[in-house]
């Protein structure tokens, strides 16, 4: 399973989001690769990803991808990330 965490610049918010998503996936026992990306390369990277994590402002910029786009409001709220990831994960 491939997950892409997307932010505008690829060094800040997406890195935090990637770290917290990895924490959540470990707790859930899900084997997934999480990559941080800036909005410029996100579209290409999202092509073979199952899930895209991003903020509300950036979601429309990602455009039409087959991956499920999940919007995270609070990047530090592991509960929010857990709930939203769980809903998107297969089984």
């Amino acid at each position: 399973m491939k997950i892409v965490a997307v932010c505008g610049m690829g060094i800040g918010t997406s890195v935090l989001l990637k770290m917290n998503a990895e924490k959540v996936l470990r707790t859930l026992g899900v084997d997934a690769e999480v990559e941080a990306a800036d909005i410029g390369v996100a579209r290409g990277m999202s092509r073979d990803a199952q899930i895209v994590l991003t903020s509300e402002e950036l979601a429309p910029e990602i455009g039409d991808v087959s991956a499920e786009v999940i919007i995270i409001d609070n990047f530090f709220d592991l509960e929010e990330i857990t709930t939203k990831l769980k809903a998107a994960l297969p089984e």
Partner: protein, 150 residues
């Protein structure tokens, strides 16, 4: 590099109880602190503001917290971080997380050099924001950050 967030935050990098008139002013304070530490040039501050103008207030990543940053560029001399707490909360125009009380400025020379600091930052900022905002001097802030750093 095993420097922790508390070590990275020198006195020059910390501005406590600052006042800003709007979000641009708040980002400018974080940029000025990065410049004061020798991490960036003034151009980087302008780049951080432009990032929000272009992409929206997505840098407000949690209730009350903005992570001001741009991308690696010639305006970044070395990887660095700054910390600005605001006396009066500022609206960034974020739907869920306004108003902002803490602006963390971030500059990186590449995509990897700051990862240890970011890991620290994630741990510290997922804690109690009120507690972090209690600090009135840099040493006290570093002590609170260390408490929250594993």
């Amino acid at each position: 590099m095993s420097a922790t967030l508390a070590d990275e935050l020198s006195d020059d990098a910390i501005v406590l109880g600052a006042e800003a008139s709007d979000w641009r002013g708040a980002v400018r304070l974080a940029g000025a602190a990065l410049t004061a530490t020798g991490s960036t040039t003034d151009e980087y501050t302008a780049e951080m503001i432009r990032a929000v103008e272009d992409l929206g207030p997505y840098i407000v990543i949690a209730p009350g917290i903005a992570l001001a940053h741009s991308r690696p560029s010639p305006a970044v001399v070395k990887t660095g971080i700054s910390w600005v707490s605001l006396t009066e909360p500022i609206e960034f125009g974020h739907a869920a997380n306004d108003p902002v009380r803490l602006v963390v400025g971030l500059a990186a020379t590449d995509h990897d050099s700051h990862l240890a600091t970011m890991s620290n930052l994630a741990g510290v900022l997922s804690g109690d924001l009120d507690r972090l905002l209690e600090a009135t001097d840099p040493e006290q802030l570093r002590a609170i950050i260390r408490e929250n750093t594993q």
